[in-house]
């Protein structure tokens, strides 16, 4: 095949800036081949290289006694005792999902599952955080249907329960939706698999599905803004095959048990290129690949296409040669491809051969380590204008406005399309607060939550970043879990704009401060930039996925309230309405500052909830929609009414942080009050559960009417 000449246009179409191309010339001292240009573009795009974000990511706390492996591998690994570890990560598939919602979302789930089982862990829980444009935008409903079906289609077939997530709508996502997928798995703490190759002359083995032309250039696509040519990018989206992924997982875990695996890496973004370079680089070795041996789905594929294909459900492994027969048998059992495609070499070379031709010959360590790193100029977000007057509204009308909005209505239309119970260890399915699963075969449980409030982050990136972590921490504490660690999925606009970079920097500072104060290190993560179309950026959306541990089921704090339960709020209520859900949904105003986050209070109040779990019958954290929405959700979930004394919107709908709503009987409430006084925790009695109405101050409505509205509104808007 005649390869195209290297022209400035070709370079630009690979997403490489002129100075970046000059860097390539400096490194190799000659003009790159077409394949080499593709390889550099794959390694140096934003998605793979983190060139705009690296400087700031380094500032995040990533260590702690519980951390077995922090960022840098396929997923983070955290100790949960008894030689067991939870392995987790969250990753975006935003650009592909907007272009082709079903496959984009499906392969997002596939990618994150692969990250987890590549480390030797069987996936046991999934979540997803979804952000869409306003309902009235012509594309939104189609995206919601496609994305939800894609997530379900992949996860359900693979066989992992979806135990939590978020769905939000805002005009800022009209032309860039966000699909952030989280997965967690369980592994033996002393049997974690890493990507670093070792040993010279070891076979490099290709596992899984065959390589096709799908996804060529996908990572580069995901590193650029969108414009009107977006439809032309559909062929860069990969197609998922969850049945193959399921077999790949089973075969990989079986293979790992044989002791045949020296190192292993999944083929995700930039497929064969990234995985091979990473294994070689981390092991201080070179890699030689003979592309003729790569299992191919179609005839006549070029070296360029094979090196950049993002065909799904593939892995690369360095094999103990004496175990080859055993390893081959495992893959044949599962009817998957197993092919030796190269070997590790002592020289620092990334050598790609196709037929008798050398298609690429690059210094591997330099290729891996020399990606540009930018200290992009940034401008701090200006302090928010103070919030003007907010008129009082009838509190029940305010509640109606929230629960009839797709943002706060019940989301069963979404999560009933996900298998939430496969593996038969789900203890709390999606609906209210953190999801819970049993650690199979033990008494322990794991809690999962995913949180961010993008309105806050836009108004005040630093407080908004803190808030995302704090809310995740609260959701874990509210179910009785000990927060362990977190993963971050940082979705922002174009980092070349100082104001966007300022949002990013602020959010990172806030996340870092909160993770340090709440002892929830970031152990894995993903950055998605360039979420812009024609210059309009999304809301800054740093999604936090967090994991907590319970020693046994006796530690679970439930959500079922009973007739006559007292309602108490832990934490201080000041009535902060800036950037609140009420302001947005009732008045269509996004004004004021984000609520400030007092990390000491978060820590104190969260510890208090867990220390006093025996006095608490039901608990939920207070977040969007404040006390009124939280009380309604607890009451509605139990089919029991609630009466709150306050009638002012500040108390009912204010979004002050570090707060929980708890329900308990009268004696427990007394004891809780005393305990709070001793611990220096603010506590207030706010009302009582019971009856069959929701009464907020003097305003009242039947629970049944509100419940019907809450349950029907999402489907009415979307279906």
């Amino acid at each position: 095949m005649q390869e195209p000449a290297i022209t400035p246009e070709l370079i630009a179409s690979h997403g490489l800036k002129p100075d970046e191309y000059q860097r390539i010339l400096d490194i190799i001292g000659r003009e790159p081949s077409f394949t080499e240009l593709g390889i550099f573009s794959a390694m140096w795009n934003e998605h793979c290289s983190y060139k705009s974000s690296k400087k700031w990511l380094r500032t995040l706390p990533t260590t702690g006694p519980q951390v077995i492996c922090g960022p840098g591998e396929n997923a983070g690994v955290v100790d949960i005792g008894d030689n067991q570890a939870v392995v987790f990560k969250m990753e975006s598939h935003n650009h592909p999902s907007y272009i082709e919602p079903y496959q984009g979302a499906a392969t997002g789930v596939g990618g994150i599952l692969r990250d987890v089982f590549t480390m030797g862990a069987r996936p046991v829980a999934a979540m997803n955080s979804l952000s869409f444009g306003e309902i009235s935008h012509p594309k939104t409903r189609q995206l919601v249907h496609g994305v939800v079906e894609g997530i379900g289609g992949y996860g359900n077939c693979f066989g992992v329960p979806t135990v939590g997530g978020e769905v939000r709508f805002d005009p800022a996502y009209n032309r860039n939706c966000l699909v952030n997928a989280f997965a967690a798995g369980l592994a033996d703490a002393d049997r974690i698999f890493y990507s670093a190759a070792s040993g010279v002359g070891m076979p490099v083995v290709y596992l899984g599905a065959k390589t096709g032309r799908d996804g060529v250039g996908g990572a580069t696509m995901a590193s650029a803004e969108f414009d009107d040519s977006i439809e032309e990018k559909r062929p860069t989206v990969q197609v998922g095959d969850p049945f193959t992924e399921k077999r790949l997982m089973e075969a990989t875990l079986e293979l790992m048990a044989t002791g045949a695996v020296i190192s292993i890496q999944d083929m995700g973004a930039a497929g064969l290129t990234c995985s091979a370079v990473e294994m070689g680089d981390k092991g201080g070795l070179g890699i030689r690949l003979q592309l003729d041996d790569v299992p191919q789905r179609e005839a006549g594929m070029s070296a360029y296409e094979m090196m950049l294909s993002e065909s799904q459900e593939r892995m690369l492994m360095v094999l103990r040669p004496e175990k080859e027969a055993e390893a081959r048998a495992v893959f044949y059992k599962w009817d998957l491809d197993f092919a030796i495609v190269g070997e590790t070499i002592a020289e620092d070379r990334f050598l790609i051969l196709h037929g008798n031709d050398v298609k690429a010959d690059l210094p591997l360590a330099t290729l891996a380590g020399s990606a540009p790193e930018y200290d992009r100029p940034w401008r701090a977000t200006a302090p928010a204008e103070p919030l003007g007057d907010v008129p009082q509204v009838d509190p029940v009308d305010g509640l109606r406005a929230l629960i009839s909005s797709p943002n706060y209505a019940a989301k069963q239309w979404v999560y009933e399309q996900y298998d939430t119970m496969v593996m038969a260890d789900t203890v709390r399915a999606p609906g209210l607060g953190a999801g819970l699963i049993r650690v199979h075969g033990s008494d322990k449980l794991l809690a999962f939550t995913s949180d961010v409030t993008p309105r806050y982050v836009r108004a005040n990136p630093e407080e908004g970043g803190k808030q995302a972590v704090a809310e995740a921490f609260r959701n874990l504490c509210a179910v009785g879990a000990r927060p362990l660690a977190a993963t971050d999925n940082l979705n922002f606009g174009n980092p070349e704009k100082p104001e966007i970079m300022g949002q990013f920097v602020g959010a990172i500072k806030g996340i870092g401060a909160a993770c340090a104060a709440l002892d929830m290190p970031i152990v894995s993560g993903n950055v998605s930039l360039y979420n812009e179309t024609d210059g309009a950026a999304i809301l800054p959306t740093p999604t936090i996925g967090a994991v907590g541990l319970l020693d046994h089921a006796g530690q679970i704090i439930g959500t079922q309230v009973r007739e006559g339960h007292e309602a108490l709020v832990i934490g201080e209520t000041r009535g902060h309405l800036g950037q609140s859900a009420l302001l947005a949904e009732v008045f269509n105003r996004a004004e004021g500052d984000a609520p400030p986050v007092d990390l000491d209070a978060e820590r104190r109040n969260g510890d208090f909830i867990r220390a006093n779990r025996d006095l608490i019958r039901a608990c939920t954290d207070l977040s969007d929609g404040g006390l009124a929405l939280a009380a309604f959700e607890l009451a509605e979930g139990s089919g029991i009414g609630v009466h709150l004394g306050a009638g002012d919107i500040e108390t009912l709908f204010g979004e002050d942080q570090a707060r929980y709503l708890v329900a308990c009987n009268f004696d427990q409430a007394e004891a809780l009050m005393s305990a709070a006084a001793r611990a220096g925790v603010v506590i207030a009695s706010v009302g009582r559960f019971g009856g069959d109405t929701v009464r907020l101050g003097q305003s009242e409505a039947p629970l049944g009417e509100l419940s019907a509205l809450y349950r029907a509104s999402f489907a009415a808007a979307i279906a």
Binding site: N156, F243, R247, Q417, A424
Partner: protein, 222 residues
């Protein structure tokens, strides 16, 4: 008591079903789809939920052609017990062991939630632990659970009291609200809902456990 659970490459409820059988006192063997025979002393075969071969074709159609299914058909025709759950029910209809077919849900979406089932007959080893007309809560999780049978088959199922469970609030468009049916000799049960997902206090419901206990009661050697 010995239960054999068939494992297709895309089965994903095989372990869940094994746990439920074990909890009821069964010894469990996992049997690979490429095997041609069942263990000799098997009392019951479990065909689990999942996506046996990806279900890209009709659900269960490829699984029905796998080597092990010849052994399952032989086991059933000898009067052996078989329980097919979800994808397992689809496989049993595709093999012809049970009549009818499972079509795409009427509203075309995958549905996972706990639903009410009415026990239509306690007259089987599977349903002996329930009362006629009793309503139990059992989760469903499927895209293709819309049971279809022609009028003659339906009339026959009814005449022979072979409808094991119906939905109290039909979620998927099934003919006659049918959620599970028995074979003519009442020793094969196919059902879309997952009793193994309501078999432990931690699941939030234990009404599926009675099915496995009832089986254990019948199959315990005298």
């Amino acid at each position: 008591m010995h239960a054999a659970i068939i494992v297709f490459p895309g089965s994903n409820c095989d372990r869940d079903l094994a746990v439920a059988f074990e909890s009821a006192g069964f010894r469990v063997s996992m049997v690979w789809h490429k095997d041609t025979g069942l263990p000799e002393d098997v009392d019951i075969v479990g065909v689990p939920g999942g996506f046996s071969f990806g279900d890209y074709l009709r659900c269960g159609a490829i699984a029905a052609q796998s080597p092990i299914c010849r052994a399952v058909i032989a086991h059933a025709s000898r009067g052996g017990y078989v329980l097919g759950v979800c994808n397992g029910f689809q496989v049993l209809t595709e093999t012809g062991i049970l009549p009818g077919a499972l079509l795409r849900n009427a509203r075309l979406k995958y549905i996972c939630k706990t639903v009410g089932l009415r026990v239509e007959t306690p007259d089987s080893a599977f349903t002996a632990g329930y009362g006629r007309g009793e309503v139990i809560d059992i989760p469903i999780a499927h895209h293709d659970g819309n049971y279809f049978a022609d009028a003659d088959t339906l009339a026959q199922l009814r005449a022979e009291d072979r409808i094991a469970f119906t939905y109290t609030d039909n979620p998927n468009g099934s003919t006659g609200d049918i959620a599970g049916i028995l074979s003519a000799n009442r020793r094969v049960l196919g059902m879309m809902p997952h009793p193994e997902r309501a078999a432990d206090a931690a699941h939030g419901g234990t009404e599926g456990a009675a099915l496995f206990r009832a089986l254990a009661g019948v199959l315990t050697p005298a």
